[in-house]
Symmetry: C2
Subunit: 199 residues, 2 copies
């Protein structure tokens, strides 16, 4: 980091540790930050540190929360018997952006991945089964990613939950809205085909 | 920012104000930051805020510095009669990465741009002329960007400095090393042609 004074070099170094931020981007960001008024930079730094410090996990659903249990788990309107199982908190945010699901969530914090040494005991499956034991949940929607680990985890959970007499569903695979059939891979097209519905 | 708790939403909002960071990237960064250990996040936030707070301007060269005058301006080895004029501090860093120039710098903090209402009095030209008045500088290297404003500023400075009997040079324009003639624009090629040198 020649030609760069120490506080700037340290900022660049820290920024370049973020995902998708290389040395060049980190430099651009650092020079931008230095050129900002001090109170704006204080706000940015505070939002980063306080964001981290104030966020905890909800002991029920496993999502990020400021209180435990989280607002969604305390919300009686959401106790409609539907439970959506996702891999991590950002998937909850994605589902919520859809504004269609109004049930509860369960965040696994990972998926079963033998290659990476992640087994069923390493993710929040025990907590899920415990939640299901009181009989209030009527349908479990498995919304893990449509990749190998996500599918395997969904299949594993389905086998575990079905014997409890709970309806288990999986989000549909198919052609993304706005996509072009010509550029859709065979796997997706095959899933879209087999999952076709009457119109 | 539905489905996102307030501290996270605030972090996303702050991060998305950075240049080149959109809503999606900010979310990805925020979720990453929240998943980091607290001391790493403290380091990041501190590097950002302290970086901003500790950085001031050198009153001589105008570059970012921790002390005034900066280390480069105090360095006697760099008082070799050469002064490199650049647009902003990041250009100093770029020149220093080259590891070939061992003179002093002068940061203009902008270029003349009538369209954006930036005149000669709005950038550090007066300070430059003051530095040149003691006769210690023998060559001024104009290293502003090869764009319209950069060229205009270089031309303006050359007209101002030449009468002082100081050598004024301009960095070369030409084909970037590793580039392909076929994909080089006509302006650059024309500059490379007219600036050709004997081999």
């Amino acid at each position: 980091m020649s030609g760069m004074i120490e506080p700037l070099a340290r900022m660049v170094n820290q920024l370049s540790k973020l995902p998708g931020v290389g040395q060049k981007t980190a430099q651009r960001l650092a020079y931008h930050i230095v050129s900002l008024p001090e109170d704006q930079v204080r706000e940015l730094a505070a939002a980063i540190y306080n964001g981290k410090k104030q966020v905890r996990f909800c002991s029920i659903c496993g999502n990020y929360a400021t209180e435990d249990p989280c607002a969604m788990c305390r919300d009686d309107d959401r106790k409609n018997g539907m439970l959506c199982v996702v891999k991590d908190p950002r998937d909850v945010a994605a589902m919520e952006r859809m504004r269609e699901f109004n049930g509860q969530y369960h965040v696994l914090h990972g998926v079963i991945s033998p290659l990476q040494g992640v087994g069923p005991d390493d993710i929040r499956i025990r907590e899920l089964m415990q939640r299901l034991s009181d009989g209030s949940i009527k349908e479990v929607i498995l919304a893990t990613n449509p990749d190998v680990e996500g599918e395997a985890t969904a299949a594993y959970l389905a086998r575990l939950i079905k014997p409890l007499g709970i309806r288990v569903t999986r989000i549909a695979h198919g052609v993304p809205v706005g996509a072009d059939l010509e550029y859709t891979d065979e796997m997706t097209l095959s899933r879209a085909f087999s999952g076709r519905s009457e119109i």
